[in-house]
Symmetry: D2
């Protein structure tokens, strides 16, 4: 028996709060889970700063990755059991890609990528094909097997149905994270009937994705609504974003200091390659939440008051406050606050920050195909395919909704702390107060 | 201490799958639960024929009524604890009305009211103020106390906030039945964050209802979405409606037979008052699911073949099949099927039935006030009130959606059974087949 | 393809609150569900009088029967997938028996069987092999197929492993009812990890039952604990048993009246065969909760004051009260109460009733084999089999526990109502009070 | 209004997966949550190495601490609402102690305390009264308020009922962690009816603890069973303990190297005080999971092969394997394996490790009082108090059960890897194999 089809002596299971159990019977999958690159995902939180708002959400990408694998396994082995069978290799390419799809995430991806310009999808591919334990395991199937797995992530694997299973408007990735994030935060919004959706998925007849039987339309509507609610209530939560703002500014500041020749008390050796933009694959893999958090903790003692303050804020949850911000209407407010902060010797580039939810990697639903995410298609009784939002006014309304949420973050504690001259502080407080009255 | 404020020696609880526990500490509430009119609700199913589709949904109105009481109790005693306090009498009027609001439901209300023209809300009031154990208990508070409780149901109690707690777009009745029906059917759609909604409700400043703090908008959106899903997926389910159609036709047939002088083998004494439209309050209270179901079971043996067949169908779940029906486009199909059935000696008034979901007492959301159901108002940060759908495109889309679902029910088993001449049967099958091809 | 192995065009599912979905792909199973004998189970409550205590528990045996079928289906098709395969006929015999195992239950079985001496297991077999729709469907497989299915219920089917799947200390019947009854009552006690237990079950090497891999011992311990808790807290609840006592006494009284020549206002025709012990299969099948409840409701108007009172009590939940009763120590108390009731013209054979929990068809765990229920065996690492309680002190303690709970039921409301002479009433109250003080 | 009784303008809530919401209305509690010592608990995992077995269990002590606070808040403000009222100060002492009870936990407490001899309960007190933000906040109530809060932890606060709420056989700490750990691992074992237990708790009449109304006995039995199951299935799981063994050996090795003058490539400055046993409060607070994990990650690159290997094992989950071990019977096996490892140049003090579950800080139930944990007392109907296990055979059996689980951990991968001479490896494998055959 080849390694591709080798089974474990006995099926192994992982107890999982979302799916009950994650089932592994393929030796290859078992070996991939044991690699150090996959184990590293235990040290990357799934939801960056969300636990600052929802304290329950402390789960890792390891946790989520097993879930995505389990969903794809069920789709391939159960849902598609009566479809023309996949080749063993195709099946395994999909399972591996599902398991490994988040391998390239670094710590706090959103803020990190903003400052250092890295791209987690590219790193996922690099880890799959590079000089890694993962690649070594995959190569035991065949020399070009890692490339095949990577091409799912790159979205150019010939069987596009398998690509879409892992990345489309209704993919295993989203289905798992919605359920999982809802479970860990404890909110009720993210729940939908996964079992029913799995029953109504079908490979698209054109071999180019996954479609949904019309009888499952309402289950998919419910999934889109869950998505909408999770984004509105959890992912875009302004308090978590306040944590993101701090992260972004910490990294920006540290990089700037380094480039300006600042001498750190302890050299942040694992981060240096990123400061100078000379990052090897090994450098990348070494980074995880532990390393960054460790630096944040020692940077609290750094001489630079901005870096030290920002790190203390992040670790001890002394967040910036926020107000709703309209770039057009509120330009004057911004300018005046900026001036006042400067007068108080508080650097506005770090302490007066505009953050827009549209920067976040989430969307409720995009009916158009230009989005890079395949829209959801319904298989009608007569065999016709129709895009979901043409049949569902609710989904249409959600897809139409693009109200970007923009916040302006500011350091209320500084203003109130006596660090700012009373007359300046009073003016700032009064500006902020007047602005909040204007709002609905 | 007066009866109005008398407490039980120790708080009593009912274990409840939806709310954990239902708490009773008022002697009056305890005594009302023990009345025979309230105990009768154990013999009225909450969801009529839904258990023909969702077998889990076998719960009674007793079950639901305790739940509505519990929600109102929490709103009054917890949510509104910091509001200007209600008079003890106002509080108790609301709790009693919550507990008793479904008292006037008869068996299988929807079909029953259609045939006999009764109105459960009127009967609820009649039981509250009439010669009943319930009324006797209420009168111990004061002679006019039953009238006050009834006026909540009638919607003309002076404190309109309390009226709206029990009947409005976001009332305790709906909140309980959505959660409860979701629990018993086992579907995930009906879930929303009740605890959060209870936290953001406030009495309207104009004393005319309940409003929602803006911070709770998404929780209320989620509740509206749950409603939409439950109606689409559960309440309007065409298989349950097929059961409703049988009920309606059974009652219609029995009444018609009686009025035409037909002699029943066993006189259906408890139903006779309804056949002749001379119904006393006592006659009404005697009726419950047990009595009707008993008659259905013995009517299986009646000589009239239509009555006997319909009853057998209902009890043994041999339902009529259905097709989508558009009164304008499909008039011809209807006419031809009608003709063919008549030719086969199958009475189309009982076996070819058009049923529209808009006849059902459900709506997703009605933003307008003319609807008799107060729309939901948000309390904005600046004190302004805004109707929910002006702020939420999703709710707006749901409120706009009015696609009535119309089905045509027909007896496929008769057609296929040899009871119908082959050539006629073939024609019918081919008509039905062609129609289904036309559909999406 | 033979009827035995015929599949539906598309798998059908029933939404189930306990198992998510019940899956049916065999035509035979689908046809059995559609029979009128199986549909009749919708009209038999699973838990007789339990809903008088736990209002949520209004579910039927239809509901539970689908669940037992689903568990057996999973064991056969999934758990045992790697075992030497069952013959298609063996598989189907087991699935049919699982689905049909409760077919012979009558209304309120416990009290009914006590009064009329019927046996639901015998009736289950009779319906399976008799002149019924069920038998007709089964016979389409082969003439002797109904007998084979019945022999599972009779426990003499050659493959004893399949017998034990449906009746043993860890059978699909108990596993489903514990989970289901816990769900509907809303208590947390009945939950255990069904998925894990299903993973560790194996057919016994001696072909004589089901055994459990040692690694699953704690999961099975948890199941036994759930059982213990459910019996203690739900099934033996003295308030539900108070309802049972009323049922028992109603049936006893009605039978006695009839045998004594009493003339009922309306002849209770469907119950007469039981009064005279001349019951045909058809008579039996006609009976369900509806019929009995209907008679109870009209018997409220009967001239016999005992029958009328008991029926009113049952329907309106005016239950007898209870005290702990020790047949040895409390004989005197019993005698004196009896005398006092007689003095007050209240017939103690109906109103002073001793009820013992050991009469109920439940036990926590019986390690011995003489019990008719196979004990649970663990498969040790070295291949040895050991009885569960020899390995688990907790199970041993539960299996040892045989504290029978005996209650004495009495009509407190009569005593307090003025119906009883003050001096007699006072004496009774003081006896009862003194007894309760004596207790811990 | 004094700080002790100062309320927030509006009650704040934390969404919590276990309790729904955690409610905070006291300004003091809000301020304590914002301190850096409390925020530090976000960086200490609740369950050390359990997530190596149950990947879902990645939650922190921050999470759990809020839960313990919420349970105590409910007991004091709801359960005891009708008891003689607590003084505001007593109430607040209990709430603060509940919130802060885990403040002194260091990273991976179990292994850490074993190696360095620290005691988290002492550090909890030290943080409460020392030079910390927590102490500063508490002192705003009064100079001696920190001492009062600390005396709850020290168990000598005058009101012993409040002490027992936080530390006894049925305290808020255990109730929260059982429910929470069950939720995050996804197992069903830890669930019990918290709401019911909270209803039946009462302050002991002797002012010396909490007692349970007899009517709640079965709910408490269920809680003890949950505890038993969680310990057996989760806390004592040999795979998690394998992680603990690695941690213990890493810390032991690092300390030994340092004391022997080994030069680390990067000085582990935050751990040095522990190596030399000169630990200030500030040193202690700086330590958290982040710091230790960071060192483990860089120690992978250390020159010492043992330290480097052990750290790599821990981070990449290459665990030692285990076999059941009986110190008496298996002494010879141990000796021979030790000799063989030494022959293969594998230091047995790090790679052949005996671990006993009795070292873990868990017990199922201890009926005796000498245990330092007050046993559970039932309040009988006649006012008498009885120890739980005298009434419940199940609890008695659980309390009696003291089967310590001892494992011997060994490096299977080394043995199989070619690092060990074939003949030595073969002998080891054969010893291990023979041992496993001997077992049941």
């Amino acid at each position: 028996m080849s390694y591709l089809t080798e089974k474990l002596l006995e099926e192994k299971v992982f107890k999982d709060p979302v799916h009950g159990y994650v089932h592994v019977s393929d030796k290859l999958i078992w070996d991939l889970i044991a690699t150090k690159e996959f184990q590293r995902l235990r040290r990357i939180h799934q939801l960056g700063t969300t636990s600052l708002t929802f304290h329950g959400a402390e789960h890792s990408r390891f946790n989520h990755s097993l879930g995505v694998y389990e969903i794809v396994r069920q789709i391939i082995d159960v849902t598609f059991a009566n479809e023309p069978q996949l080749e063993p290799e195709e099946r395994m390419v999909a399972l591996c890609a599902a398991l490994l799809h988040d391998l390239g995430h670094g710590p706090f991806s959103h803020a990190f990528e903003k400052v250092f310009g890295t791209d987690h999808e590219e790193y996922t591919q690099a880890i799959i094909i590079g000089n890694t334990e993962v690649s070594e395991v995959l190569s035991k199937v065949g020399e070009d097997f890692p490339l095949k797995v990577a091409s799912i992530i790159k979205k150019n694997y010939p069987n596009q149905t398998l690509v879409k299973l892992i990345s489309s408007q209704i993919d295993a990735d989203r289905m798992d994270y919605l359920l999982r994030d809802a479970y860990y935060t404890g909110v009720s919004y993210g729940k939908f009937d996964l079992e029913r959706i799995l029953r109504v998925l079908r490979p698209s007849p054109d071999g180019n994705g996954v479609i949904v039987k019309y009888s499952g339309m309402h289950a998919v509507e419910d999934y889109i609504m869950s998505r909408y609610q999770m984004y509105q209530q959890v992912y875009f939560h302004p308090v978590s974003r306040s944590g993101e703002v701090l992260l972004w500014k910490i990294l920006e500041r540290a990089k700037k200091l380094y480039c300006a020749g600042y001498e750190f008390q302890v050299s942040p050796s694992q981060v240096l390659p990123f400061f100078v933009n000379e990052v090897s694959l090994k450098d990348y893999i070494v980074l995880d939440d532990i390393v960054l958090m460790y630096y944040f903790s020692i940077w609290q003692e750094e001489a630079d008051p901005i870096l030290s303050d920002l790190c203390g804020r992040f670790l001890n949850r002394r967040l910036l406050r926020y107000l709703n911000y309209d770039p057009k209407e509120d330009a004057e407010l911004y300018a005046e606050l900026k001036g006042l902060l400067e007068k108080a010797d508080i650097d506005p580039s770090y302490y007066l920050v505009v953050d827009s939810s549209s920067d976040l990697p989430y969307d409720y639903y995009l009916p158009g195909v230009g989005s890079g995410k395949e829209p959801i298609k319904l298989l009608m009784g007569n065999g016709e395919l129709r895009e979901l939002s043409t049949e569902s006014p609710v989904v249409e309304a959600i897809g139409r909704e693009r109200r970007t949420d923009i916040k302006l973050y500011y350091p209320l504690d500084f203003i109130e702390s006596g660090r700012v001259e009373p007359v300046v502080a009073e003016r700032m407080i009064s500006l902020i107060h007047a602005h909040s009255l204007k709002e609905k």
